[in-house]
């Protein structure tokens, strides 16, 4: 059974997220006074045709490091879900 890798890529905290800032300003302008910050990232779903969970996880991490995120300015998180 394949796995779906649910991947989130976000800018590191030290990097100014200009899109997130614009959204944050828009939300406070709409009157949401308790909104303190907004940060924008990417969500990517990849289907990995692997039966072995450990191998699917290894591939998931490898593609995140190689292509899907840029470690100089981004972090990623990876969640695996079995496809039924």
């Amino acid at each position: 059974m394949p796995y779906t890798a649910k991947i989130k890529v976000t800018l590191r905290q030290s990097i100014l997220d200009v899109q997130g800032k614009a959204v944050e300003h828009a939300l406070t302008n709409l009157g949401y006074r308790t909104v303190e910050s907004a940060r924008i990232g990417k969500y990517i779903e990849v289907t990995i045709n692997e039966d072995d969970r450990a191998e699917a996880e290894r591939i998931g991490n490898e593609i995140c490091q190689k292509l899907l995120s840029n470690p100089v300015m981004e972090n990623y998180s990876l969640e695996l879900e079995k496809v039924n």
Partner: protein, 234 residues
């Protein structure tokens, strides 16, 4: 002497490839050739230019997919052997993604795509790309980018400074690297950097768009002339 071949890589979405070809062809002794991204043959080029544009539509991150184009394996080997490789705008983004240069480019701090003339100062004039410039000069060269905000961790910035790897800084017309003169938020007003060896240069401004007086400035032309002087052994 036979003409010197310079390769211009064409990715799907490159849009400054023919401007670059035009600028190179205007230098007597250069013969530009277009290198399709899916090929492996550098066609005897003695230098390679990665042009500006939106390779692969800037999908995922600017330059991230182009970096894995088949020809990039050859370009990376070519650069590691010490041959000159120049990346302009999107080409700079590809060089950073490929690891030939250090750091990253994120969204401009003002969120806007900027297309306008800037003034920049050459910082290190002892390289194959900059030997015909003086470090007291201010050059007028246009930018056209949405993601040109140069970032690198503090230890990388220190290393760039220590090894003369900062190529160009955005300045005012007096050559001061002030915050007002910084169009996109780049750290240290960085507009372009070299690798440690000085044979790889990436920059956001477009020298090929400042290589003909009809376009308002010829200040970019000397970058190609410097390269010719080096390759011709002059």
């Amino acid at each position: 002497m036979a003409d010197i071949t310079v390769g211009v890589v064409v990715f799907p979405g490159s849009n400054c490839d023919h401007d670059t070809e035009y600028a190179l062809a205007s230098i007597k002794g250069f013969r530009p050739v277009m290198l399709w991204h899916n090929d492996h043959d550098l066609q005897g080029a003695k230098a390679i230019v990665l042009p500006g544009g939106f390779s692969y539509g800037d999908y995922l991150r600017a330059g991230s997919i182009a970096r894995f184009s088949p020809i990039m394996k050859e370009v990376i080997d070519f650069a590691r052997k010490g041959f000159p490789v120049l990346g302009i705008c999107n080409g700079f983004q590809v060089l950073l993604e490929s690891g030939l240069l250090e750091g990253a480019l994120s969204r401009n701090r003002g969120m806007k795509f900027l297309c306008r003339q800037t003034t920049i100062r050459p910082v290190n004039c002892s390289t194959v790309f900059t030997s015909l410039y003086g470090d007291d000069e201010v050059l007028s060269v246009p930018i056209a980018h949405g993601e040109g905000n140069y970032f690198a961790p503090p230890e990388v910035l220190k290393s760039l400074l220590d090894h003369g790897q900062i190529a160009f800084q955005y300045t005012d017309s007096e050559g001061r690297a002030s915050d007002e003169a910084n169009p996109n938020g780049s750290l240290l007003n960085i507009a372009g950097i070299f690798n440690r060896e000085g044979n790889v240069l990436g920059l956001m401004p477009h020298p090929e768009r400042a290589s003909d007086l009809l376009l308002g400035s010829e200040d970019g032309r000397r970058m190609f002339e410097s390269l010719y002087r080096h390759l011709a052994g002059q």
